[in-house]
């Protein structure tokens, strides 16, 4: 297949997914402030590739904030400042000359409330390619189809790709948003409570999807739902009041937590 992408764009992975290098994701000595309020007090963490890592903890403990460090979405929040390094494959993504737009093509994000664009299903999924300047119609079409297939939406929408993305049900919209993210072929996917606004059936479908995706992608998911964390994640990190209390294989966190606070949270003594 001919490569329609210009040279200085996201490379190799587009041609042959098996050439994907496995990303090494590290957070070193991270501290975050919002207008003087110290939201994250000092966290070190290494994310294992091709896994699903769950961030759990009570509301307002910095899970989402920490998640958004990885694709620099916090940059848009007034009063945000941080210390420390986030390194992906050894390069600090917070260095001055980093091209944030390129970063976000490698690190995708799915939001809590499904937010499809007010455009057609096709245009939603194709958007990420369009802004990279890709114009090859055949390439775009194949990529859109394969993304919709990956999320299991293809059979449901293939008859009318021109329908507005907003006309889908909540669960379908969220899968559309995931397809949209997959279309640019990131290697890391961040998910910020992706099922909290959905009904149980849609939630189950998406959990199954996440389970399948981890073969090709590295996924970090923030969730309020501990059972969900237990079901789909390989590793779990427990956050409390801006600190990382415990971080281990999910099995261990839920059956044999090391810290008392972790156990209290998991057994529902506080939430």
């Amino acid at each position: 297949m001919e490569n329609p992408i210009k040279e200085n764009m996201v490379l190799d992975s587009v041609i042959d997914p098996s050439l994907k290098k496995i990303p090494k994701i590290e957070a070193k000595k991270i501290k975050v402030w919002y207008d003087g309020f110290n939201a994250i007090k000092g966290i070190d963490m290494t994310i294992k590739p091709n896994t699903v890592t769950a961030f759990i903890g009570p509301s307002g403990c910095g899970k989402s904030t920490f998640l958004r460090l990885f694709n620099r979405m916090n940059d848009y929040v007034d009063g945000f400042s941080m210390e420390g390094k986030i390194k992906i494959n050894g390069s600090n993504i917070y260095k001055k000359n980093v091209n944030v737009e390129e970063l976000r093509k490698e690190v995708g994000m799915v939001f809590q409330k499904p937010n499809p664009f007010p455009k057609s299903i096709f245009d939603n999924v194709a958007y990420g390619l369009k802004i990279q300047g890709i114009t090859d119609k055949k390439f775009i079409q194949e990529r859109v189809i394969s993304s919709l297939q990956q999320v299991g939406l293809w059979e449901e929408v293939k008859d009318d790709l021109k329908k507005s993305g907003l006309a889908l049900s909540g669960g379908q919209q969220q899968r559309l948003c995931i397809a949209r993210t997959l279309a640019v072929e990131p290697s890391i996917i961040l998910m910020d409570e992706p099922t909290s606004a959905l009904d149980p059936i849609s939630t189950a479908k998406i959990e199954e999807l996440i389970f399948q995706l981890k073969e090709k992608y590295t996924i970090i998911i923030v969730t309020h739902n501990m059972q969900q964390a237990g079901r789909i994640s390989d590793y779990t990190a427990f956050f409390y009041l801006g600190e990382l209390i415990e971080y281990n294989k999910t099995k261990n966190i839920f059956t044999n937590p090391e810290k008392q606070q972790t156990e209290n949270y998991i057994t529902g003594r506080f939430g």
Binding site: N71, M73, Y76, D78, E101, E102, L103, R104, K105, G108, M109, F111, K113, N115, P116, F117, P118, K119, Y127, G128, K130, I131, Q132, C177, R180, T181, V184
Partner: protein, 284 residues
């Protein structure tokens, strides 16, 4: 007992007074328009629209004024639309919290309240004299563009504000730049609202008289403009001119021209409302 009854009676009386006040304005408007229709409808025929103004009311038509209005409308759109929308985008998407934003906001709010004739004085000095454009259609259009600029800017800002932040987040998260997000997501999503505002602003421009009189639009122009540098007249000025003439035939002409002007204004407002409804539906 008596006090409560008195209060109830006052309450009812106010209700009737309220309905009366609400409809009195509209009733009067209907009376006025009815009167104009009676006065002027007979005068409207194809000849009226295609005749040039003349000393005899029967032969006097609105052709040059109508053409002038169309020229002004088109030129004003070309000038005010891009500048107003660009300024609105800047204020909503780029300048949200810096000091400049506050100053710009106060300034625009002030400009919106400046009497239209003052814009005429500005246009006279700057466009007609200093820039040497003379009393041309271009000078008139530039003057009116400045007049409606605050309206277009406010309409753009309101339309952009209505676009949910989640759309922007999704766009940025996919690696789009700020301008890509604005061009591909925000503008298409707010387009209907912006269009509504622009059409309403233009409908206002079509009815403006005073600034154009000051700029030098003539009351008696025997030709339609053929270039932006030509002299011109517009419908409201033609109406004004006819009202000022003693012969009663001209009153009829004025009424007829008013009917056409109102027709244009109502159609434009109607189109604007249509777009606004269509745009609001998009988000349901």
């Amino acid at each position: 007992m008596n006090n409560i009854q008195k209060n109830r009676w006052k309450d009812q009386a106010f209700k009737y007074w309220g309905v009366f006040c609400t409809i009195i304005g509209l009733v009067l408007l209907t009376v006025f328009i009815g009167d104009i229709l009676i006065d002027g409808i007979v005068r409207i025929d194809w000849g009226f629209i295609t005749d040039l103004p003349s000393r005899k009311p029967e032969n006097s038509g609105i052709y040059t004024a109508l053409m002038g209005s169309i020229w002004i409308l088109i030129l004003t759109t070309i000038i005010a639309f891009p500048i107003g929308v660009a300024a609105g985008i800047y204020l909503e998407e780029y300048a949200k919290t810096n000091k400049l934003a506050g100053l710009l906001e106060i300034n625009i709010s002030n400009l919106a309240g400046v009497p239209s004739i003052i814009y005429g004085l500005l246009g006279l000095e700057v466009f007609v004299r200093i820039m040497n454009l003379g009393a041309s259609v271009l000078a008139g259009a530039l003057t009116l563009s400045l007049l409606i600029l605050p309206i277009v800017i406010v309409a753009t800002r309101e339309a952009i504000k209505a676009v949910p932040k989640s759309i922007k987040d999704a766009s940025y998260a996919l690696g789009a730049s700020k301008w890509q997000t604005i061009w591909h997501q925000i503008l298409p999503a707010s387009g209907g609202g912006i269009l509504t505002g622009v059409i309403l602003a233009l409908s206002r421009a079509v009815g403006e008289t005073a600034p154009l009189i000051v700029v030098g639009a003539l009351a008696y122009v025997p030709f339609a403009p053929s270039s932006p540098m030509d002299e011109f007249s517009v419908m409201p000025i033609q109406i004004f001119n006819w009202i000022s003439r003693p012969q009663s035939g001209f009153i009829e002409n004025a009424a007829a021209a008013i009917i056409i002007l109102l027709g244009i204004t109502f159609i434009m407002n109607g189109i604007a409302v249509y777009f606004r409804n269509k745009w609001q539906k998009k988000w349901k």
